[in-house]
């Protein structure tokens, strides 16, 4: 046996002892400054919208019309000014965050889970399963997602739950497509065959060996969809199928402010900035996660 053992040539440092997988991923994430910034930004937005009650009163400031104080520019009384019904824009942006962030995040998670499942099954099993699943997805993709969402909400009725279902269903096909194609590239690699050779069941191969290797493009898609989803909520609200327009929400605030863009641009600026910040936070978090999950990018 002696001679098959190799003397280890110098140069390569022994990797440090590993704690748990999660810890290493967390550590790697925290090393990425932009990703940390994204996370902080996200937390700030969440805290501000959850703690909105501390700064303003929901009923009095964000819902009740106050025609005397309509269209006031930002100032000491109203930090972000007031809208055409005299509601405080600052309060509405804060409370609106609750819905936009909550609905957005949940929708992405639901469609991520659904899309991954369908895409993974289609990509891994191939053949008939692939054909049937992907043709169904194609049908959904053929309908513009906004129309699809409109018809689902119309069928199920208004409400936050139905809104999320509608948005998820309309974005699942996109996830399924991306997951399927990344699964296909991973599936052909030898380590998947090795796992089959030592008796791994299909489910474990997909979940343990394939999906983690296909995660990059999936996360990117998820973070990019976030922006889209927030805007979709507003479009649906705009046509009266999302939430009642009195309920503050970033998207509907934007569409309401459109008419005043010329003379009262602050109306569109504040909810717009809020959306941009949220989307940016998601993108940064997404990029950070993708890198942290990839051991190849570890320093």
């Amino acid at each position: 046996m002696e001679n098959t053992k190799t003397k280890e040539a110098g140069g390569m440092p022994a990797p440090t002892k590993k704690n748990s997988q999660l810890k290493t991923i967390g550590k790697r994430y925290l090393k990425n400054r932009l990703a940390v910034f994204g996370l902080v930004l996200f937390l700030v937005l969440i805290i501000l919208s959850l703690g909105a009650g501390l700064f303003a009163d929901y009923e009095a400031d964000a819902i009740t019309h106050n025609m005397q104080a309509r269209l006031q520019p930002p100032g000491a009384d109203h930090l972000f000014g007031t809208d055409r019904y005299g509601r405080d824009v600052f309060a509405r942006v804060l409370f609106g965050g609750r819905i936009s962030l909550l609905v957005g995040t949940l929708t992405i998670l639901i469609s991520l889970a659904g899309g991954s499942l369908i895409g993974a099954a289609a990509g891994y099993y191939g053949g008939k399963v692939d054909n049937i699943l992907m043709r169904i997805m194609d049908v959904f993709l053929a309908i513009p997602s906004i129309l699809l969402a409109i018809s689902i909400v119309a069928a199920l009725g208004n409400g936050m739950m139905n809104l999320m279902i509608a948005l998820s269903v309309s974005s699942v096909p996109r996830f399924a497509r991306i997951v399927r194609s990344s699964i296909l590239t991973v599936k052909g690699q030898d380590f998947v065959e090795a796992a089959r050779a030592y008796g791994c069941r299909n489910r474990k191969i997909i979940l343990y060996h394939i999906l983690p290797n296909a995660i990059g493009p999936i996360i990117v898609q998820a973070t990019l969809s976030m922006a889209n989803t927030i805007l979709m909520i507003s479009s649906l609200s705009f046509v009266g199928l999302g939430l009642p327009s009195s309920i503050p929400e970033w998207g509907s605030m934007l569409s309401e402010a459109k008419e005043f863009m010329r003379y009262d641009p602050y109306l569109i600026a504040f909810p717009g900035i809020a959306i941009v910040l949220a989307v940016m936070a998601f993108n940064l978090i997404g990029d950070g996660l993708r890198d942290a999950l990839d051991p190849k990018l570890r320093n």
Partner: protein
């Protein structure tokens, strides 16, 4: 003669393509004794890798039998096959795609053990992983390393350790050293021969490299376009190659010696095409320097020309 541990009878695998059936593995009969190595050589596309995977049922055969210790693997259902998988393992060519980049070395070696529930205690498994790493000549300081942090030779050792984790009896080695540098290649070959001796392992050693195959095999099968054209004990094949294709393969190997009065190589013309709906007869005939009319039209059976030396060619012995 000892009973073979693995045999195939009329094993075939056809792939359906747009142009017709691709005969990737066509009527292969082979048998390997316990503790021995059968080398399978041939150029890319000759079906040698498919053969290895068909034997392990990673690809389902179209027809024929795969007898492992007398049992036909093709008659087993999925559950029964899972039970057999411990005994039949595979080592791959590419040390980069054969290891899951998301798993650490210990996770890679542990997974087969856990999957087959060979050991359950955490400490036991850990101990076994370290033992396996030592067996293949890897320092255990790499236990938490990720594959991309290691070079090709070390990665290939992990591949060997993963295959050994289940104490298999039979291993398909699919070009295990082709992607490695020569000095590393020799280390891995030595390791594989040592392991074979210690554990009475049986190898099906697939390669395109005639010098490597000579080194490690007891018996060699030469494949061309899905068929076996010659099979023989190793020494005999190198001393007396009989099929013109084998002769061409052997003479094409560059030898690291200066030969001023070098004899002309048996250069073969043309290149391999893929065997889609092939006609009966010798598939090498189109490139063969000795081709004659009787080469095509009829199936040319393997005939015994010496002890254990079978050739599929119409030419008489020269």
């Amino acid at each position: 003669m000892a009973t073979p541990i693995l045999e195939t009878r009329n094993l075939t695998k056809y792939f359906k393509t747009a142009r017709g059936n691709l005969h990737a593995v066509d009527d292969i009969n082979l048998s390997i004794e316990k503790g021995k190595t059968l080398g399978v050589v041939g150029e890319s596309g000759c079906g040698k890798s498919t053969l290895g995977r068909v034997i392990l049922r990673l690809i389902e055969a179209t027809g024929g039998e795969i007898l492992f210790e007398g049992k036909d693997l093709r008659t087993l259902n999925a559950r029964q096959m899972e039970g057999m998988r411990q005994q039949l393992q595979i080592i791959f060519q590419d040390p980069f795609s054969s290891l899951n980049p998301r798993l650490s070395v210990s996770e890679i070696i542990t997974d087969p053990i856990r999957t087959n529930k060979l050991l359950t205690g955490k400490a036991e498994i850990q101990e076994r992983v370290v033992e396996l790493m030592h067996t293949v000549g890897l320092s255990d300081r790499f236990i938490n390393a990720y594959p991309h942090e290691l070079d090709g030779g070390r990665r290939q050792r992990i591949g060997v350790a993963r295959a050994l984790a289940l104490n298999p009896k039979f291993i398909v080695c699919d070009e295990p050293v082709s992607a490695l540098d020569v000095s590393i290649q020799a280390q891995i070959l030595n390791l594989m021969m040592d392991l074979q001796e210690q554990r009475e392992l049986t190898y099906l050693f697939i390669t395109h490299d005639m010098s490597v195959v000579k080194h490690i095999s007891n018996q060699i099968m030469v494949m061309y376009m899905g068929q076996c054209v010659e099979v023989s004990p190793t020494e005999e094949l190198f001393e007396q190659p009989m099929h013109p294709y084998t002769q061409a393969l052997l003479s094409a190997i560059p030898v690291p010696k200066l030969q001023r009065d070098r004899k002309r190589r048996h250069l073969v013309r043309g290149e391999v095409t893929s065997p889609v709906n092939p006609l009966p007869g010798c598939r090498f005939a189109a490139r063969c320097p000795h081709a004659r009319p009787e080469c095509t039209g009829e199936v040319i059976p393997l005939t015994e020309r010496g002890p254990g030396h079978f050739v599929s060619c119409v030419l008489p012995v020269r």
